[in-house]
């Protein structure tokens, strides 16, 4: 016997018998907000939370002019995806609100990723370096204890239960003492704060020693490194004295795995012009190094990548060819029974198909800059994102939020102009984005658009960021809709 005393959301529903007896042909519907884009011969429709479907131009026109047949299959599909609701069934509005709130839940946590740039020195001389490293002996580019301590005060001001501190450079291990100091001090503070605290060192691994590994083991520190592919690609992309970077990184990956465990090390690749001709070899390298996936990452328009004109050597079309060739090979690998993931595609798929936020800072609106991730530079400068400090090393301090040694938490967040930039660049209000079908899968990227167009909003018709999101989304949705065998592989990545 069903309990008749219902409350909350259930109040908005009719009793079950109503739905059994309802005559569909009597339905009158109204539109819920949605956007659409022509893709080939049909239209991609997405609602406010990214539920999507493809339909014909004829059905789209009927939908908009409210002449759709309530008995048609397309009507049911549109209703189930909250593109329309029936008059008298306003619960759909509240359900959609709830879904939207869930999708934005990440912002309740505020800043969780805190990047400490402990040194700008580096032993490598990568032409595509996005952070404008300094020569190794220039120790004026190192973070000191006072700056680290002030940064930690700031870190624990975040309301987030989860705090990740990531040490970056340059090569952060060139300032190992300050990493050690910061980890120990953070743990001391956390005895009373009791947050979920995690540490990551982003390193080229050259300086990894037994002492460092022992410390990382004891304090549960994760390692992130760079592996660009086989020796002839890696060593060209990432030159160092001795030209043996590839051998070092491969040997050290094994050493780290042995001490810390296989799940404590990950690798990232950067796509140079040379990489574009070697998709299969690069993936083979990752398989050979026993990684379970790869993040196909194009160059970013910052630092030496701009200064040395590396960024101009290929456009998105060429990157997309590389991406497609790589994906083709990755599908073949999975079809042969070896699970292997392309991480950016997996992120996009999670954005499309999961009801929860992914936490991927680059694809958020409001932008994740400052509010999801924040950067403490070696000199005390506070930046809204890793890309912001990359821009600053090129002499442009547009996204510098203040200085940890002289400014308060409130001044940095409320008086730095950060909130104005986030508000100006909301995808819900900027030209093109607010009516874009890809909006739920994308984000506002003020630093990228400022770096490429000198405008945090940017002309979206000229935006490489937009092109990338749209093109890769179309590629993935095409597989999900039309290739059942490969859809199963992609579903495993979500």
């Amino acid at each position: 016997m069903m309990n008749k005393s219902v409350n909350g959301l259930a109040k908005k529903f009719n009793p079950p018998e109503h739905y059994y007896s309802a005559k569909k042909q009597d339905a009158q519907y109204k539109l819920l907000p949605f956007n659409f884009e022509r893709v080939g011969d049909s239209y991609l429709l997405t609602n406010e939370v990214g539920e999507y479907l493809f339909l014909s131009g004829e059905d789209l026109n009927s939908l908009v002019h409210e002449t759709l047949d309530p008995q048609s299959e397309v009507y049911s599909s549109l209703k189930s995806r909250h593109v329309l609701y029936e008059v008298g069934s306003e619960a759909a509005i509240e359900l959609l609100s709830l879904k939207l709130r869930t999708k934005h839940a990440v912002f309740r946590q505020f800043t969780s990723l805190h990047i400490f740039v402990v040194s700008l020195r580096c032993d490598y001389s990568c032409p595509y370096c996005q952070v404008s490293r300094q020569t190794e002996d220039a120790d004026k580019y190192d973070m000191d204890e006072e700056t680290a301590l002030r940064s930690l005060d700031f870190v624990f001001r975040t309301p987030s239960e989860h705090i990740k501190i990531e040490f970056q450079g340059g090569e952060p291990l060139l300032n190992w003492e300050i990493i050690k100091f910061t980890v120990l001090e953070a743990e001391k503070i956390n005895k009373t704060e009791k947050r979920d605290l995690a540490f990551v060192i982003a390193t080229n691994l050259t300086l990894i020693s037994d002492e460092i590994l022992e410390f990382c083991y004891k304090h549960n520190v994760f390692i992130s490194t760079s592996l660009d592919g086989p020796a002839h690609v890696h060593n060209r992309n990432r030159p160092r004295p001795g030209k043996d970077g590839h051998q070092i990184v491969r040997d050290q990956i094994e050493r780290v795995r042995e001490k810390l465990g296989p799940d404590h090390i990950s690798a990232l690749m950067t796509t140079s012009e040379l990489s574009l001709s070697h998709p299969r070899e690069i993936i083979d390298e990752y398989l050979d190094a026993d990684f379970k996936g790869i993040f196909l990452r194009p160059l970013s328009p910052y630092g030496f990548a701009v200064k040395t004109h590396q960024i101009e050597k290929y456009d998105f079309e060429r990157f997309f060819e590389f991406y497609q060739d790589s994906m083709e090979y990755i599908f073949e690998i999975n079809e042969a029974g070896i699970p292997f993931v392309e991480e950016f595609s997996a992120l996009m798929l999670r954005k499309i198909f999961l009801p929860y936020p992914t936490g991927y800072v680059d694809l958020q609106s409001p932008a994740g800059a400052g509010v999801s991730a924040i950067v403490f530079n070696y000199d005390g400068g506070v930046y809204a994102s890793d890309e912001s400090r990359m821009l600053a090393e090129m002499g442009d301090h547009k996204f510098r939020l203040g200085n940890i040694l002289t400014d308060s938490y409130e001044e940095i967040f409320l008086e730095s102009g950060l909130l104005e930039i986030l508000e100006e660049t909301l995808t819900d209000s900027v030209p093109e984005c607010y009516q874009c079908a890809y909006k739920p899968f994308c984000g506002s990227e003020p630093v990228y658009h400022y770096a490429t167009q000198k405008d945090p909003v940017g002309n979206k018709a000229l935006s490489g960021f937009c092109t990338k999101t749209k093109t890769i989304t179309n590629y993935l949705l095409d597989i999900m809709e039309n290739d059942p065998a490969r859809r199963k592989i992609l579903q495993r990545w979500i």
Partner: protein, 113 residues
């Protein structure tokens, strides 16, 4: 992707003009289509004194064939119709959209205890 080059606006280029009936496509929708095409073409947009017709003039390469011109016009007209439909959707859903946003970000639980 084709990008605007200096030669597109000076030297060896020609003009391609399309007239739009503003009773069919609103000026707002038309401006949005022009914005979308701004990655590849330099254009100018003007409205007649009576306000009934708008003219969009693209500056295209001298080498554009008649087929290229037809393809561009077809794409532009199709996009303008899509933009007009987007305007209709936006107008029809603006109130409910604001309601959803208000509900979603209200500083309270959505489900009553």
């Amino acid at each position: 992707m084709q990008r605007i080059k200096a030669s597109d606006v000076t030297g060896s280029s020609k003009e391609l003009t399309v007239s739009i009936d503003l009773r069919v496509i609103s000026l707002e929708a038309l401006k949005k289509s022009c914005y979308r095409f701004s990655d590849s073409y330099y254009y100018s947009l003007s409205v007649t004194d009576t306000g009934e017709t708008a003219t969009v003039t693209f500056r295209i390469l001298e080498s554009f064939s008649e087929e290229d011109e037809q393809e561009l016009l077809q794409r532009f007209n199709r996009d303008a119709l899509d933009q007009e439909l987007r305007e209709v959707v936006f107008q029809k859903t603006e109130t409910v959209r604001n309601l959803i946003l208000m509900n979603a970000f209200a500083n309270t639980d959505l489900i009553e205890e």
